[in-house]
């Protein structure tokens, strides 16, 4: 018969192994994320009011500038409802971004990365849409993907 202590030790060993695998899967290069946020902030200058990157699972902010956890939670909800509405229709799903033109001269660009989303609240008077969508957004997407892959 196997002693109880041995069974417990084996259980702890398996649990520890599982834990370390989960941590590895979620590992991301925070330094790289902060660097790409800084680069985007510099590219957009005064046009960028706030920016946040959050996890879709719970809306928790992982990086940002002038961070607003409340705005991140709201945008997470909007993104989820948008994705659900499109999924339930015969329309194509969202690919990598959506834009909301808001009152008070503001615009929200939200980049989608599966488990993460990156929102940028912008000043519509100051933002150059061509620069935003053709230069900054592709750079942000590439930089974030690189940071997440380690």
């Amino acid at each position: 018969m196997v002693p109880l202590a041995e069974i417990l030790m084996e259980g702890f060993r398996i649990k520890d192994e599982k834990g370390s695998v989960e941590v590895k899967e979620e590992e991301m290069n925070v330094k790289k994320i902060n660097a790409i946020v800084k680069e985007v902030t510099e590219d957009l200058g005064d046009a960028l009011i706030t920016t946040d990157i959050w996890t879709v699972a719970d809306g928790t902010v992982i990086a940002g500038l002038n961070s607003s956890p409340k705005a991140a939670a709201l945008m997470n909800q909007v993104g989820r409802e948008l994705i659900d509405a499109l999924t339930g229709s015969k329309f194509p799903s969202l690919e990598d971004y959506y834009i909301l033109d808001l009152q008070d001269g503001k615009m929200m660009l939200c980049l989608l990365f599966g488990d993460y989303q990156w929102g940028m609240l912008l000043d519509t008077e100051k933002v150059q849409l061509g620069l935003l969508l053709s230069v900054v957004a592709p750079k942000a997407i590439a930089g974030f993907n690189e940071a997440v892959s380690g």
Partner: protein, 123 residues
């Protein structure tokens, strides 16, 4: 409402956007019924009505500014769709992302079309 004028606006839009325009619809916000369009998709009008409401309801629930001129979605398969509220009416477009010049669309074509739609529905 001048329906002939609305149809004229759709034709003008086709000329302006050429192959970039895949479909467009002008519909009443109250019931999602299409008034004029090209490659009209009633299901899309209903969906865009729903999306507009859900976004605005979420924004209204917080202290965030509400939707103003439009919302724009980059969709799988190289499509861009955008919807523009114009009082009691909404106008939506489905574009080929590779062929559409977004700057031209949002800064030139959209303002011109919105003004024309406002005039046509007020007539």
């Amino acid at each position: 409402m001048d329906v002939k004028r609305l149809n004229g606006i759709i034709k003008e839009l086709q000329k302006d956007l050429g192959e970039a325009l895949m479909a467009t619809d002008i519909w009443t916000h109250a019931d999602g019924q299409s008034l004029a369009g090209y490659n009209t998709q009633p299901a899309a009008a209903a969906l865009f009505n729903r999306i507009y409401d859900l976004i605005n309801n979420a924004l209204k629930g917080s202290k965030f500014p509400l939707l103003n001129r439009y919302y724009l979605l980059h969709l799988e398969g190289g499509h861009i769709s955008a919807a523009f509220p114009i009082g009691d009416y909404h106008w939506g477009i489905l574009l080929d992302a590779k062929k559409a010049q977004l700057g031209l669309v949002l800064n030139v074509v959209v303002p011109k079309t919105i003004e024309a739609i406002k005039e046509a529905v007020a007539a």
